[in-house]
């Protein structure tokens, strides 16, 4: 897989749906308020093993907030998250309690987050970034963690960068390392929060290639993205959000070519006319 994606040749796996397994992630009735501001208005999302779900919608529609609620970087006001059998109810009144924090940690161990701003640890080498959590959180032995890290670094095409520090990498390389870091925890689901929005245009492709490879290999993922072309190639399901609600969802061909809801149509029209306009 690495060779094909790294050389930039498009991967074609037209049939995606049949490989889907049982549900691994269930977000039920997720509501989020910031003070009186109702940002998420009852989001239900179920993701099956091997499924790639892309969240689209204009800025402020709640895509990123939803993703951050999934691993409790934001405590939902109401609702529950279940990943791989571990279910946690939103509990904003006791969000800081030790018991709740420990439950949240179990959710986080089972999910891997990739941020818009990469957030690599600048004081650690690439390898140290990758083995930090597996050794200290999962208790994997040093040797095994290194082996794992080298494997995933190879997968994102950066095997030779293992001893570099993040400051010496390009944006696209940083993001690929960040993906490898998430993979090293062998999470049940990967969460991508606009992973290419902070990149220079010429660096976007290398990151999307890696992600597309993962999607076609059967990684389970939720991706918040503005890259509709990528969604078409890699998504099993596209979900359109507006004002904190799911307006419409379905396979990418249907969602991007013949959506039913007027709001989806309008979003796509504006987006295709000028991708940046949809963000304002």
């Amino acid at each position: 897989m690495t060779g094909a994606t790294m050389s930039g040749e498009p991967l074609r796996h037209p049939v995606k749906a049949p490989h889907l397994g049982e549900p691994v992630l269930r977000a039920l009735g997720i509501e989020k308020y910031y003070r009186r501001n109702h940002v998420l208005r009852g989001m239900d999302v179920e993701v099956r093993r091997g499924e790639a779900v892309m969240l689209i919608g204009r800025s402020g529609s709640g895509k990123t907030t939803f993703l951050r609620c999934v691993n409790f970087l934001e405590e939902p006001t109401m609702g529950s998250i279940e990943i791989d059998g571990v279910r946690v109810e939103a509990d904003p009144l006791h969000a800081r309690s030790r018991a709740h924090q420990e439950q949240i940690r179990q959710i986080r161990i089972r999910s891997g987050m990739v941020f818009q701003e990469f957030n690599l640890f600048p004081h650690m080498s690439v390898l140290a970034n990758l083995i930090e959590a597996p050794t200290r959180v999962l208790g994997v032995s040093h040797a095994e963690a290194v082996e794992r890290a080298e494997g995933y670094l190879g997968k994102v095409g950066l095997a030779e960068k293992r001893d570099e520090y993040p400051a010496r990498l390009s944006g696209g390389q940083k993001q690929r390392v960040a993906i490898a870091r998430a993979l090293c925890m062998e999470p049940k689901v990967l969460l991508f929060d606009e992973p290419t929005s902070a990149l220079d245009p010429e660096l976007i492709g290398e990151v999307l290639n890696v992600m597309e490879g993962l999607a076609h290999e059967g990684s389970t993922m939720i991706v918040v993205t503005h890259e509709l072309h990528f969604a078409r190639e890699a998504a099993d399901r596209v979900v359109f959000l507006e004002e904190g609600r799911i307006i419409e969802e379905g396979p990418p061909e249907k969602m991007l070519d013949s959506p039913e809801d007027d709001r989806t149509k309008q979003f796509l029209r504006r987006f295709l006319a000028s991708p940046r306009a949809s963000e304002t």
């Binding site: 999910s111 891997g112 600048p122 959180v137």
Partner: protein, 269 residues
């Protein structure tokens, strides 16, 4: 570079420009040094001209006063280490969501920063014995300096911790790290890098503030100068020596700190 010097003409201009810039830098440096030499010379010359400077005294007692420098450095080094440890604990306390911990840490900072260092030194050395706690002068001085600087450095560390981008903490949390590990492995090491220049500054300030412990008979630089100065009615010479030693110490450590800072900047951040 080679592309810029494409034509012979451009190459010659670039070479001349480089030589010119190098020359101006050298000229600046020479003028700068000249100003220092002239002004210091004038100052010493004026003192000499009064006919009151006793060189024999300086020759006889200079080495004794200079001997106090080692204690000054020892006090400063030990105190800055304790102050740093206090500051890390203090800063975590000041950022704690636990009202008790936060309250204790904030009271410490407020109390220490709200009272003069000399009062704190006297309190520990002259005040505590009344409560049955008698400390020798050197430990008393170290405790006072450590607590005092610890409070100021608490605020530096707090700012340093807050200057670590929130995304770092979020990334660590998303990897499932417990809070202790997020702090110890990700936030604090980065905060430490941010505050190293400020610690260096405080160390230089500490060298000078350590003079205050001469008041509780710690036989450091200023105490020695004071003793031999008053006994021989030669305070001017004695104080000049002490001042010169403090000055040289701060210059040396400032230069050391500057190099450290440059090395950190060159590093991997």
């Amino acid at each position: 570079m080679t592309a810029a010097a494409g034509t012979p003409e451009a190459g010659s201009i670039l070479a001349q420009l480089e030589a010119y810039q190098e020359r101006s830098r050298t000229v600046f440096r020479l003028k700068f040094i000249a100003v220092w030499v002239v002004l210091i010379g004038a100052l010493l010359g004026a003192l000499w001209a009064t006919g009151n400077i006793d060189l024999a005294f300086i020759a006889e007692w200079g080495p004794f006063i200079l001997g106090g420098a080692s204690l000054t450095i020892l006090l400063s080094v030990v105190s800055i280490i304790f102050a740093t440890l206090l500051a890390i604990v203090g800063a975590i306390g000041r950022l704690s969501r636990n009202a008790y911990i936060n309250g204790v840490a904030s009271l410490y900072v407020s109390l220490v920063r709200g009272t003069p260092l000399i009062v704190q030194i006297f309190f520990i050395y002259f005040g505590l014995p009344q409560l049955g706690i008698v400390l020798p002068s050197i430990p008393a001085g170290i405790i006072a300096l450590s607590f005092n600087y610890g409070a100021y450095m608490t605020e530096i560390f707090r700012a340093g911790i807050q200057a670590v981008p929130p995304g770092q903490r979020e990334a660590a949390q998303s990897l499932g790290m417990p809070e202790r590990q997020v702090m110890g492995r990700i936030v604090l090491p980065q905060a430490f890098r941010i505050v190293i220049p400020a610690i260096g500054n405080d160390f230089v300030a500490m060298i000078k503030d350590s003079a205050l412990v001469s008041t509780i008979a710690v036989q450091e630089l200023l105490w020695r100068a004071g003793q031999v100065g008053t006994q021989n009615f030669r305070s001017l010479e004695a104080l000049l020596i002490a001042a010169a030693v403090y000055w040289i110490l701060t210059i040396v450590f400032s230069a050391f700190q500057e190099r450290l800072e440059k090395r950190m900047a060159r590093g991997d951040r």
